[in-house]
């Protein structure tokens, strides 16, 4: 019986799609957990660094590093952290929307902007809309290492140290929970002075070799660590968003299959009824 062959083919194709989206959902779930673990593992380094920076800025009130000085803002730098791949709902477009609003505000204040992109989606976005992009890194994979980010961060730090940019920001997604990610813009430079009131008396480190050199080194590493954390967090966001997107895609496929199945059954039933009617009609005619 050739009833509803097209419908059967269609059902099979939707089922195949559902298999794929379901697999992607499960992969995203496990990758998200791993990314969250890496987020946790990266926290102590930045926390320890923050302590040291706080100690220094307190111990060294007469010495001000360029990274700590607030300058009038004529040009800002933004590190844009996006994903390498799509299929993650509105994650990147939410981030870009927030960023475009901020860009509009800056343009209104005659502030110029330099960008540096991490992740291919950001690079593609600026390719379409224009903007001065100083550097970019892409194809970070699911387990990025600090070394992959050195170039991108150093470009911006060098620009800041040379006075080419007066403030440095990072735009990325905040991992609130697995259902919610929030686009966020954070200021990296100049560093906000950290005051630690628990240190009552005045003391200073012995610096080896020179205070300035150690500070340069330390602050560059600190910014790198902050950027690395943001990148890891963005990956957790990406996987969470993909997990949700793929789950709803699987659900939709399930609904579609149900509907198609119903249509198919009806058509089959109608064909049987008609055949019976024909037989009965034929028998009556004899």
């Amino acid at each position: 019986m050739a009833v509803g062959k097209e419908i059967r083919v269609k059902i099979a194709s939707v089922q195949n799609t559902q298999k794929i989206t379901r697999a992607m959902e499960m992969v995203a779930t496990s990758k998200m957990r791993k990314a969250q673990e890496r987020m946790r593992a990266a926290r102590p380094y930045a926390a320890k660094m923050r302590n040291v920076v706080a100690h220094i800025s307190q111990a060294h009130s007469e010495y001000h590093h360029a990274f700590l000085i607030v300058r009038p803002v004529k040009r800002v730098g933004v590190i844009v952290v996006s994903t390498d791949r799509g299929l993650c709902g509105g994650l990147n477009s939410n981030l870009f929307r927030m960023l475009v609003q901020q860009i509009k505000r800056w343009q209104g204040e005659q502030v110029e902007i330099d960008f540096c992109t991490v992740g291919r989606k950001g690079a593609q976005f600026f390719q379409r809309i224009g903007g001065r992009v100083l550097g970019q890194v892409g194809r970070l994979g699911d387990q990025p290492h600090v070394e992959q980010l050195i170039g991108a961060v150093k470009i911006m730090l060098d620009a800041y140290a040379a006075g080419a940019i007066d403030e440095l920001f990072i735009a990325s997604n905040d991992f609130v929970n697995s259902m919610t990610q929030k686009a966020d813009l954070e200021q990296l430079l100049p560093l906000k002075p950290q005051v630690d009131d628990t240190l009552g008396h005045h003391w200073d480190y012995i610096y080896e070799p020179e205070a300035q050199e150690v500070m340069d080194h330390l602050l560059a590493r600190y910014i790198e660590a902050l950027v690395y954390q943001r990148v890891i967090e963005n990956i957790a966001c990406e996987q969470a968003a993909r997990m949700v997107a793929m789950k709803s895609a699987s659900d939709n496929a399930g609904k579609l299959i149900k509907e198609l199945q119903l249509i198919y059954n009806k058509a089959r039933q109608a064909a049987i009824t008609q055949e019976l009617a024909e037989i009965v009609g034929g028998a009556a005619a004899v």
Partner: protein, 139 residues
């Protein structure tokens, strides 16, 4: 016996945390041994071995590829790099990131075209909305 708290961390993970009787680290100007009550010190480290002598006399060694050593009378913090870092290697990374940007973005204006950006975003938003509407209708 007096002990000193030791934390060894890298940007990617925590490597060691605990009490120690003595710590040896490869400072830039030579290896330093740190006993409890050491004066506050901040120094860079060269690639080498950080040895932690536990209170029970046992010794643990960790390889670091450079980083920063912070010493306070009761706490030692080793901020380890995750890979060997050198000035020219860092410069090479900068050049690579720049080249990548130039390759992709040749012949394009320096100014962000807000109108175009908003059109792009509107398109993306419309796509998402369509999906959502389909979903509602389906359910």
């Amino acid at each position: 016996m007096a002990t000193i708290h030791v934390d060894i961390v890298s940007a990617e993970r925590e490597i060691f945390a605990g009490e120690a009787a003595m710590v040896f680290a490869p400072a830039l100007l030579g290896e330093v041994g740190i006993a409890p009550g050491h004066a506050a010190l901040l120094t860079r480290m060269s690639p080498g071995e950080v040895r932690v002598q536990l209170p029970n006399g046992e010794q643990q060694a960790f390889y670091v590829s450079g980083g920063i050593l912070e010493v306070q009378p009761k706490v030692v913090t080793v901020l380890s790099d995750t890979a060997v870092r050198a000035h020219d290697l860092d410069e090479a990374a900068v050049i690579k990131a720049k080249q990548e940007a130039e390759e992709h973005l040749r012949a394009r204006s320096d100014k962000v075209d807000i109108a175009k950006a908003q059109a792009e975003l509107a398109e993306l938003a419309a796509q998402l909305q369509t999906i959502q509407r389909l979903r509602r209708r389906g359910g």
